[in-house]
């Protein structure tokens, strides 16, 4: 806990600060490598689709004392080969054994239940059956995909309306980036894709964007009246805004990850395989990617797009001129008058009206810089 607090505190006080936007190339390389690995994993290894996508039956044996070997033997007798997948899962009521038999084996569920119960010496009551048609997983992912497309269109429109299209593009790229990485991790590691995983993938949508939107909100106000000055390029302003909201971004990400981690390690650890585990695993990977992408992908992407706009090209030119002048002036040993407080201006006056409230004397002691 204190470790989190420490990191947060150091970031908070500005001890740690990063040039996110300027290291665009680094992020591109990192993301590029991960994305290539993810896509390679997807195309070469493919996803390890669960039985929900292949169709078949899952028999859950709740009787304690049945070992995996016994269950595997019984399942093999039933199918005539060793294609059945036998897993162990821990529940609060002890252990249970999951036997998955693919529909290609053409074992009738009732027959399977009877067969297993006979060879294991159990009553059929002690075996739960879950039977899935091959089209079920396909259908649910089909619908999920439709939902994904609709969501992306809607959210792009919304972001284009609430911010502007370049930010919407940045957010969309970050989102796709997260999704591809998450799916890629699944392909590379070989985690089984189940309906829970699909739910997890879909939730990444909301979360990845939540983070990005929080960052963009700061970015928008930071670059509001940027063209009115000539000290900062868009990238500089974007980076400054990123740093000033970094604590917030990290805190929101950490707080979002904590319950998910609890689900993953505690819920999943207690239960073994299960829906909780599947959802939280996908979420955990996706959220981590999301935290990275909202800072290192979305904003640099937006900065790159914005820098192509004529007004910001013009701004960059002016800033360059000014800096050259400053450098020259510095070389000549004099300073530019107005330079002192504004040399690094990044964040314009916060909204919320003019702050003309009376300033308390006692408080002014804190504001050492203001008096210096």
């Amino acid at each position: 806990m204190s470790r989190f607090g420490n990191i947060g505190h150091r970031l908070y006080t500005g001890e740690v600060s990063f040039d996110f936007v300027g290291r665009r190339r680094l992020w591109t390389i990192i993301s590029g490598v991960i994305l290539v690995a993810a896509i390679l994993g997807l195309t070469v290894r493919g996803l390890n689709l669960g039985i929900e996508f292949k169709g078949g039956e899952i028999y859950t044996i709740t009787k304690p004392g049945v070992t995996i070997a016994q269950a595997q033997k019984a399942a093999n007798e039933l199918t005539g080969d060793s294609a059945a997948i036998v897993q162990k899962a821990n529940t609060s009521n002890g252990q249970e054994i999951l036997v998955q038999i693919s529909s290609t084996e053409k074992i009738d569920p009732t027959k399977g239940q009877d067969g297993l119960s006979k060879s294991l010496g159990l009553s059929t009551q002690q075996i739960n059956t879950q039977s899935l048609s091959a089209s079920w997983g396909h259908d649910i992912s089909q619908k999920a995909l439709e939902g994904l497309v609709v969501f992306m269109v809607l959210v792009t429109l919304y972001l284009a309306f609430a911010f502007e299209w370049r930010l919407a593009v940045g957010a969309l790229v970050a989102l796709l980036h997260d999704l591809v990485i998450t799916v890629g991790v699944y392909a590379l590691v070989g985690f089984e894709v189940t309906s829970g995983t699909v739910i997890g993938f879909l939730t990444i949508l909301g979360y990845s964007l939540y983070d990005t939107v929080v960052v963009f909100d700061g970015l928008k106000s930071a670059t509001n009246k940027l063209t009115k000055q000539n000290k900062l390029t868009y990238s500089d302003a974007a980076n400054a805004s990123l740093n000033s909201t970094l604590v917030r971004s990290i805190n929101t990400s950490v707080l979002a990850l904590l319950p998910v981690a609890a689900l993953l390690f505690i819920g999943g650890g207690l239960l073994g395989a299960g829906v909780l585990n599947d959802i939280s695993l996908a979420l955990f990977v996706g959220l981590t990617a999301g935290a990275y992408s909202s800072i290192c992908v979305a904003t640099p992407m937006v900065a790159w797009l914005q820098e192509k706009r004529p007004e910001y090209i013009e701004l960059a030119r002016k800033v360059k001129q000014r800096r050259a002048a400053e450098a020259k002036a510095a070389a000549e040993g004099r300073t530019l008058d107005e330079e002192t407080p504004q040399s690094e201006v990044s964040v314009p006056a916060p909204t919320g009206g003019p702050r003309n409230q009376p300033v308390n004397r006692s408080r002014s002691e804190r504001r050492s810089t203001g008096r210096r």
Binding site: G5, L202, Y210, V214, A262, Q342, G352, T369
Partner: protein, 614 residues
């Protein structure tokens, strides 16, 4: 310090807080008042069987809400017909029906039963026999031997008992025509202004009643037919074809097993086969066994069926119309049947191998419009109409998913979910407290309010719209802890930003709000949009998850607006926070004011205030 006049600029925190409190008290009050104190649990948590069926059809337009609703109704009847209580059947998405049976055990059988294609046929009746489940009658033979009184001799020997029982029930059958739905229906042409229409029901009902009476009277004379202990068979009316004779004799319609056997055999039979079939329902423990001819009219020839209250007789009846093909077939068959003697003048409406109704035919019906009248009440009329409508549904159902969860497994899943949720919550609370100290308490209180609202709303929705908490929904709720906490972070960080810029706490809290509010609204909107899209585009588990996520996102807004913000405003007036106590989370030291790096941070800030003061 800000002057007291700035108070309206703070809003009215007291009012907002009391509103929140009122909402909470109201919700919890309703919750306790209505008795829905816990959320309804889904099958995967409470245990039970869930069968998902998907409609398929060659005709895409046939999969429409109206047809799905009828199909769902039929499914529900099929499940309830198996003696299951508390089952729920609902249409999910556009083309799926989910049947949830709590704590059922014979899941696979149920699934097969549900998924079978419903076949509705009109078959002429060749012969019928009434069978009485004597064991279900109050005075059954085992105890009757010690009984004196009215039926002393009846119980003494099998022959006597079988002669007694039909007598006992015969008055019931004839005296209460309203109960004999299966037998007492008559069919007539749909004549809008014919006085004959009203004449038919009564005529046929009485005819049937007398037929039943004679049947049982004969049964009394032939005391042989009682091979099994509890079953008493009446005499066979009509002629059973030789090919069916042994099967007809063997089947016992009074037992579930017997009916199942008959149903399976009947379902397996071709349309051109003659079959033995049982009535789907008993009337005063009297089941009817039929020998049926080959299919005369296929149920898909029905274009429409509906129940209505006859304006002439004041009784419930079922109107049905056939398409042109069916109308021709129906005219043929009714023309033939009307010449026959009872019971061969009846045709059986056979659904899924069970006879739903066997009205007698009074005349040839040529117009493709028919009315089944008789002893219906509203429920039985609409049930029959549904059955007939179902026959006109060109829908097949495929089992998509069968999930059986034992209550123990469900319980352990719920436990694991709750433990994970609790630990997640504790982690978030600890993080908030360590990082935000005093402010963390605000976050914890807000989370608590949020938790209470979520729980009570979920419980109430369980009662109101049948919202069932399943495992993905629990996941959604746990994940939502993060989202809710995020809103506080956004707000707190804004307040601290303001403080870093040199504002005192009260203005900081006030000025931070508009921007924090904007951020929270925008990001919650995106979150809600994701949940809404998921809800409308997906089904089943994903939908449950999306619903929870959407609900908690909305509640997050409510909590932040009506609780966190007013609470902050109030706390900003307290000395503990206002003076920047080290544990308030708002202390200058914690904000890094004394830190050398603070200079660079601050210098990046705009000058206005600093300029004025300097």
């Amino acid at each position: 310090m800000a002057s007291p006049k700035s108070r309206p600029r703070d809003g009215y925190p007291g009012r907002a807080l009391s509103l929140t409190l009122a909402i909470m008290v109201a919700l919890v009050g309703i919750m306790i008042g209505t008795g829905h104190t816990t959320p309804r649990l889904g099958i995967d948590l409470a245990g039970g069987t869930s069968v998902t069926l998907k409609a398929t059809s060659s005709d895409k337009n046939a999969i429409n809400p109206a047809n799905m609703a009828i199909a769902s109704e039929i499914m529900s009847q099929r499940v309830n017909g198996t003696g299951v209580t508390e089952s729920t059947t609902q249409v999910q998405g556009s083309d799926e029906i989910v049947v949830n049976v709590p704590k059922g055990t014979s899941s696979t059988e149920l699934a097969t039963e549900l998924a079978q294609t419903a076949k509705l046929y009109f078959r002429p009746v060749l012969a019928e026999q009434q069978q009485i489940d004597a064991s279900a009658l109050p005075k059954s033979s085992p105890s009757a031997s010690s009984n004196g009184g009215a039926k002393p001799s009846g119980a003494a020997s099998p022959s006597a008992s079988s002669s007694e029982k039909p007598k006992a029930s015969a008055p019931g059958a004839s005296a209460s025509p309203s109960a004999s739905k299966t037998q007492g229906d008559a069919l007539s042409q749909d004549l809008k202004a014919g006085s004959s229409a009203s004449a038919h029901p009564s005529a046929s009902t009485s005819a049937k009643a007398s037929a039943a009476a004679t049947g049982t009277a004969k049964a009394a004379a032939t005391p042989s037919a009682a091979p099994t202990s509890g079953t008493v068979s009446g005499q066979t009316a009509g002629t059973v074809p030789a090919a069916l004779q042994s099967e007809f004799n063997a089947i016992d319609c009074t037992t579930k097993h017997g009916r199942d056997v008959a149903q399976v055999t009947a379902n397996r039979a071709k349309e051109t086969d003659q079959v033995v079939s049982c009535s789907s329902d008993a009337t005063s423990n009297t089941w009817t066994k039929y020998a049926l001819d080959k299919v005369a009219v296929d149920g898909t020839s029905i274009s429409k069926a509906q129940s209505n209250l006859s304006t002439q007789t004041g009784q419930w009846e079922v109107d049905l119309s056939f398409n042109s093909h069916g109308a021709g077939q129906f005219a043929n068959i009714t023309g033939q049947l009307t010449k026959n003697q009872p019971p061969a003048n009846e045709f059986a409406i056979q659904l899924d191998g069970l006879v739903q109704s066997s009205p007698s035919v009074n005349e040839a019906i040529t117009g493709g419009q028919a009315t089944i009248s008789g002893s219906f009440d509203q429920a039985s009329a609409s049930q029959l109409a549904n059955v007939l409508s179902y026959g006109s549904l060109p829908l097949d159902f495929q089992t998509q998913e069968v999930v059986t969860v034992s209550p123990e497994l469900g319980g352990s899943q719920l436990d694991a979910g709750l433990i994970a949720g609790l630990i997640g919550l504790i982690l978030v609370v600890v993080y908030s407290l360590v990082y935000y100290r005093g402010l963390g308490l605000v976050a914890v209180a807000s989370l608590l309010v949020s938790a209470i609202l979520t729980w009570s709303l979920m419980s109430l929705l369980g009662g109101a719209i049948g919202f069932a908490l399943n495992l993905p929904a629990v996941c959604g709720a746990i994940v939502a802890i993060g989202i809710t906490a995020d809103s506080f972070v956004v707000y707190f960080e804004r307040v601290r930003d303001e403080l870093r810029e040199g504002a005192t706490l009260r203005p900081a809290v006030r000025n931070a709000w508009p921007r924090a509010r904007r951020t929270i609204l925008v990001s919650d909107f995106v979150s809600f949009l994701a949940a809404a899209v998921l809800y409308f585009f997906t089904v089943g588990k994903v939908q449950g998850f999306a619903f929870t996520l959407g609900l908690t996102t909305l509640l997050d807004l409510v909590v932040v607006f009506l609780f966190t913000k007013p609470l902050m405003t109030l706390l900003a007036r307290r000395k503990f926070f206002n003076s920047g106590h080290p544990w308030s989370g708002l202390s200058p030291e914690r904000l890094g004011v004394r830190n050398p790096l603070r200079d660079s941070r601050n210098s990046r800030r705009p000058v206005p205030t600093a300029g004025k003061e300097a």
